[in-house]
Symmetry: C2
Subunit: 387 residues, 2 copies
């Protein structure tokens, strides 16, 4: 039987989660320590910034052994520990593993970073030799299921946040060159900073961020040699070198006007202007200027709303996939002992007449179980014909 | 499949129930009429003062056929009819039949008069040749179950009403003779009348009831040649001939005093005095007089409360018995078609290896069904050893 002890963002604040974090060496040490217990057959330690989870397989004593060991290792009283824990066992532990691996337990629903983290945690245990048959099958199936959801649904490919949607527009913009020059007006603001980080996640993008002189106390929290900081007052001066201009200030005035822009840009080159400010930063008439495309906040709001609808549908599909694979994993666990008992079963039933067996079943099981058995018998007639 | 159409005290007032009552000849006529329909294989009509129920077995069309036929026969519009009906089908119809037969649907929970009525209704259909295999099995099993509850529990033997408890005291009283003389003071009252009816339900009891002269307009609604009516003022005169004296008036004064009683009774004979009035009708000191026993309303209240506790326990036992027998009946229905298909099934599975069959099952059913099948396989190993 597999068990899971979970300290997650659902029950424990970050200060507590930190206490249960494991560095690589600690993981190895703790796994070795626990694997030495008689009741424990397998152990996997999964640590992310949102959760510390320890999966163990073994006898009924394994979960108690784990709790005592972690209280001891992390120097915390058992009663204190129990306040922050969720304990899962058997099928609910398998279900939890699947949910975690598929991103259903993540803060951002369906995110797929967790998949890599689950794979790594499992691999570490495998390398350490602390996984048994049960854990091998279950982690393998959970990871396969998460990959299937990633491939077959658009759950993790459907962004809802404005910053990500803006970054996607930047990535898709074609200027015929390997390098895209992007100006971010208001880079020191919250939205400006997030957008900057997002667009820098792909190569080939160079950012020119504006700061206001009187705000020089604000430092730019994006550290990259692909970011250049210029004074807000000089923005039109740099604009001719830009492919994309993004504005995200909180101010009431236009940061980009048609008048100034027509002076600054005389080449008619194809450029993308993105205005995510409320009230608007860019004169809407910019969109009508030669070579220029303007996307405003309404455009991104609409994208985000559409994506929310898509995401909900994809979520249903993803859940259906998970339920199917989870059921398969549970079947594997349930069925496995019978493979080893096949000869014993064959001997027991050899030479017995079908009606003898069926009458015995009828006389001993309740009507619900009898229906399942008879329904299975019906199916079996077809399945053996086909297979 | 069996269906049940029920018009009962739960949904229809007595005026409506009366419209659906069937006289013996009507039952026969209606059964014959309905049995002629192609979709109908069997029909049983059950009529009591609290319910009219028609059970039919047959194809899916049978229940619609029944509703049209009864609307036609009873000259009622179908839409009007549907207001008062409960329709049960399949397992819920079987369950309903069991509940009705066992008295769980009766106004007085667990009463067993209904059992005789169910038996009679079934017997009539059997005599008419309008019951098929399914109805034969189900009615037989329902009646057997109700008998089992009657024999194995005290559900129907645990009275709660004061009138019944008083009657039981009268029945148990021994005076060494075949005849018991009982005086009922206040026989024209509600309680006095009910008690009188109850005690007259067994032979060997002769009642002397008192009425007041100025109330001569009140007629005694108990008709029996074992009841004699005397004037209230003469009660002490008749008391020496009595074995039991019951008083149940609404008046504020004693109907029996020690003083008058000691004048009237001089023989010291064993007598039972029962006072069920509030406030009390009999001087409590009567209980201390030679030969006399006095039971007052507190005595019967205590009996009734104890019986309520007993009845609740017996009800749980009765329900458990019913659930068991009901499940057996459902199993019989589910299993029956497979007896006829046994050769076909044998051919299908002959020569197939157990592991082939089990792998096919694993690959096609869900984990819940797989668990049932494997659990059944485990049991089967033991059952064939034993049987």
């Amino acid at each position: 039987m597999m068990y899971c002890m979970s300290v997650s963002h659902k029950k424990a604040p970050v200060t507590i989660r930190e206490r249960f974090a494991f560095r690589e060496e600690e993981k190895k040490e703790f796994m070795e320590l626990l694997a030495g217990k008689e009741s424990v057959n397998g152990i996997v330690v999964l640590c992310t910034c949102n959760r510390s989870e320890i999966y163990v397989s073994g006898t009924k004593q394994a979960i108690g052994e784990l709790q005592r060991a972690i209280a001891d290792y992390k120097n915390i009283r058992l009663e204190e520990l129990l306040k922050y824990l969720n304990i899962y066992s058997g099928e609910s532990a398998i279900g939890h593993l699947f949910k975690v691996a598929c991103g259903f337990e993540s803060m951002v629903l369906g995110e797929d970073e967790i998949l890599g983290q689950v794979k790594e945690a499992y691999q570490l245990s495998k390398d350490q030799g602390t996984v048994d048959y049960e854990m091998n099958v279950l982690f393998h199936k959970a990871v396969t299921c998460a990959k299937r959801i990633k491939t077959d649904t658009n759950l993790s490919k459907t962004p809802l946040s404005i910053a990500t949607l803006v970054a996607n527009e930047v990535f898709h913009f074609q200027n015929g060159s390997d390098i895209k020059n992007v100006m971010v007006i208001g880079m020191t603001g919250k939205m400006g900073g997030t957008i900057t980080k997002n667009i820098l996640s792909k190569p080939g993008i160079v950012v020119t961020g504006t700061v206001r002189k009187h705000n020089s106390c604000l430092t730019v929290d994006v550290k990259s040699d692909r970011v250049k900081v210029v004074d807000y007052g000089d923005r039109y001066h740099y604009m001719k070198d830009m492919d994309i201009v993004i504005s995200a200030t909180l101010g009431p005035h236009y940061t980009v006007t048609c008048e100034e822009l027509s002076k600054a840009l005389e080449d008619g080159k194809k450029r993308l202007f993105i205005d995510v400010a409320v009230p608007v930063d860019m004169d809407p008439a910019i969109g009508a200027m030669e070579g220029l495309t303007l996307f405003d906040i309404d455009y991104f709001d609409t994208l985000s709303k559409n994506n929310t609808k898509i995401k909900l549908k994809e979520l249903d599909r993803a859940k259906a996939i998970m339920e199917e694979d989870l059921d398969g994993a549970i079947k594997e666990m349930v069925f496995h002992p019978y493979i080893q008992r096949m000869d014993e079963l064959k001997n027991a039933f050899s030479g017995k007449r079908l009606e003898t067996l069926l009458y015995q079943i009828r006389d001993h099981v309740n009507s619900e179980d009898l229906k399942v058995v008879l329904r299975t018998l019906d199916g079996l007639q077809d399945w053996i014909k086909e297979g």
